[in-house]
């Protein structure tokens, strides 16, 4: 368990293996966690964020690119233990070939964590026929003065967007990757601090 006492940005690139990370965020501190997951193999990633200090907050962003027969498992926890805490999570995956992404994540709001604001979202873009996505975002809310929202989307390329790009003379393969990049790129907008956002973007292992 790592303690976060001041505003902190952590950017990680993960290509394989089993990774568990636990962060404890102290009062008034903000943690920004960015994961670049690029894999054609097996990944099991479990980041947990515990908001233990009054007024602490966290932003978790995951950009996932699965290729070949990648099997990417991501389990997240946003655990609100103190009042006035905020968390914001967005995991976006682009899956091609036969890759799959299995996401399960939880927001847990303890009875003591009044005035929590929590958000959790998982979006999956399936590019090829044999890709697969499983998404189980869960909420467990034991306090009442809260706002908790989650969402999940599984979709494929929009025929209209592809058609529009083709009318501009862009080849289908190119427009496919343009749309996929745009899809991932938008995840950065979750990072509110512009310096942090630029730093994170600069470390991206793929063009986004």
């Amino acid at each position: 368990m790592k303690s976060v006492k001041t505003n902190t940005l952590i950017v990680r690139t993960i290509e394989s293996g089993t990774i568990r990370e636990d962060y404890k965020v102290a009062a008034s501190a903000h943690l920004t966690l960015v994961y670049f997951v690029v894999s054609s193999g097996e990944i099991d990633l479990t980041p947990s964020v515990h908001l233990v200090g009054d007024g602490s907050s966290a932003t978790v962003v995951g950009l996932v690119k699965g290729t070949k027969s990648a099997k990417i498992q991501i389990h997240t926890l946003q655990h609100h233990q103190a009042p006035r805490t905020t968390s914001n999570l967005l995991i976006k995956s682009v899956l091609s070939d036969k890759s799959e992404c299995i996401y399960d994540g939880g927001i847990r709001v303890d009875a003591s964590a009044q005035k929590t604001d929590a958000y959790q979202r998982n979006e999956n873009l399936l590019l090829d026929e044999h890709t697969k996505a499983v998404s189980s975002p869960a909420l467990e809310i034991l306090a009442n003065d809260v706002r908790c929202t989650h969402g999940a989307v599984v979709k494929t390329l929009d025929e209209n967007e592809l058609w529009y790009l083709s009318t501009r003379g862009i080849h289908k393969d190119v427009s496919r990757s343009m749309i996929a990049e745009g899809f991932l790129q938008s995840a950065f907008s979750q990072i509110a601090d512009s310096d942090e956002r630029k730093k994170a973007e600069a470390q991206a292992p793929f063009t986004v």
Partner: protein, 465 residues
């Protein structure tokens, strides 16, 4: 009153002598109890074998490892088959005062009150029921209790019974299959539209309110039927475990709507399996309201088997003190161009817990499916709890699946606004809650919608403190 048994109505059909019916199985469950139930009902051999097989499966299946806490259910401390009158209160006065009070305040007519509370042996709308029955039978519609259907239409029942929910589906489906009694059988012939909703409690047979109801609805090609089960009034029951199975077959181009308002008394475990199989271009709609019981676990499902089949689940759950409503819906897309929608609204108050649990699954090869799930939860005080457990399993790229959920309290601004217009906080809260569930309530038949609103208002009384 109350001494006259509901058998009198069944007796007319000549299948049971009253003394045969005065039967209560031994506590607990074994093969002898299961055989005995079948004997008592003089069932065909295949049904008896089905029950015995289900009993074996029941023994092998484990309790669900997820969901509500069921550890206090003692399967050996339950009567699995009791003659209906034995479990009803005999006098209106014998009912718990809070239930009598609720009836008075929701404004349910006297005759219905007595029927619903189980004190009345005969429902006064028997005449109404009979005239509906004759209109239906002219169209070839069969609407019977399940026991009668097995006697009168054994081949139809045999053809469809257990085809949507086999005994091996889960422990409680197995339990229901081995000890089922009561429930409804509806058969709608090809192209027939049943204009009036078929209401379970129009049937005189009190066994309808049984512990282990078994309902089977078959809608042939292009037909339409709306079936309504339950009622907003609390149903007092001395049984601790209710485990129904509802199977629906929606054939090509047919549409079935199934509305349930569940308001069992707060000692009841309500563990129900409801599933519809929908063929090409068919539509299934579940409207499911859960207000009562101690624990409810119920996830009405649509299995979309044919191209362009559509399924909808609208669910409302209300959990007060000591209640856990674990409800939701499932949509399983087996065919291309199928669509589904699940809308869930839940309210928890006074230490109650509501959980949405749902599944959307799309199999590889089922192309261009669409599904949308929206869950909204209100938590009214700090001792209550709300959970959301959705799962989306998507094995097909050409698909569009969305899920969103929100959990919040009643907005202070909304309350403040209403109070500034001279509305008390208490009334303001119940107005907001009624507005919150309105999208689903408006789908209910009018009389239910009115009762539902009154009931919510009633539940909300004293909630400000």
């Amino acid at each position: 009153m109350g001494q006259k048994s509901p058998i009198s109505s069944r007796y007319k059909y000549g299948f049971h002598k009253p003394e045969n019916y005065l039967f209560k199985s031994n506590k607990g469950l074994d093969e002898a109890v299961v055989s005995n139930i079948s004997d008592q009902k003089r069932e065909p051999r295949w049904m008896r074998e089905r029950r015995l097989m289900a009993y074996k499966i029941f023994g092998m299946k484990s309790m669900p490892m997820w969901g509500a806490d069921l550890s206090t259910i003692d399967f050996n401390d339950i009567y699995y088959y009791i003659r209906p009158t034995d479990k009803k209160a005999n006098k209106w006065e014998d009912l718990p005062p809070e239930i009598r009070d609720t009836y008075d305040r929701i404004g349910i007519p006297e005759a219905e009150k007595k029927f619903l509370s189980g004190v009345s042996a005969q429902y006064e709308s028997e005449v109404v029921y009979k005239s509906i029955q004759s209109t239906l039978s002219k169209k070839g519609v069969i609407f019977l209790d399940m026991d009668s259907a097995l006697r009168e239409y054994p081949d139809l029942v045999r053809q469809y019974f257990g085809t949507v929910i086999p005994s091996g589906d889960n422990k409680f489906a197995a339990l229901n299959t081995c000890v089922w009694s009561g429930g409804s059988f509806v058969y709608v012939p090809r192209g027939v539209h049943v204009d009036l909703p078929l209401q379970a409690y129009f049937r005189i047979n009190a066994a309808n309110m049984g512990q282990f109801e078994r309902t089977l609805i078959i809608a042939e090609e292009g037909s339409y039927v709306h079936y309504v089960e339950g009622c907003t009034a609390p149903i007092y029951s001395t049984d601790s475990l209710h485990s129904a199975v509802v199977e629906i077959i929606v054939k090509k181009g047919a549409r079935v709507r199934y509305t349930t308002i569940q308001n069992w008394s707060s000692n009841v475990y309500n563990l129900v399996t409801k599933r519809a199989r929908v063929e090409e271009e068919g539509t299934m709609e579940w409207v499911d309201g859960n207000l009562g019981s101690k624990i409810t676990m119920k996830y009405p499902s649509v299995y979309l088997m044919g191209r362009k089949a559509r399924g909808e689940v609208l669910s409302i759950a209300y959990a007060g003190a000591g209640q856990h409503q674990d409800a939701g819906g499932k949509a399983v897309h087996y065919a291309s161009e199928t669509t589904s929608q699940i809308i869930s609204k839940s309210i928890s108050r006074g230490g109650g817990r509501t959980s949405y649990r749902g599944l959307v699954e799309v199999f590889a090869g089922a192309k261009d499916c669409k599904s949308k799930v929206v869950c909204d939860a209100l938590i009214l005080d700090e001792t209550s709890r709300s959970d959301t457990y959705p799962t989306m399993k998507i094995g097909e790229a050409r698909t569009q699946i969305e899920h969103e959920a929100t959990v919040s309290k009643i907005g202070d601004e909304q309350l403040f606004y209403l109070q500034s217009r001279g509305v008390t906080k208490e009334i303001a809260q119940s107005m907001i809650v009624n507005g919150f569930i309105e999208p689903i309530v408006k789908e209910l038949p009018l009389e239910y919608a009115v009762e539902m609103n009154r009931l919510i208002q009633l539940q909300m009384e004293g909630s400000v403190g």
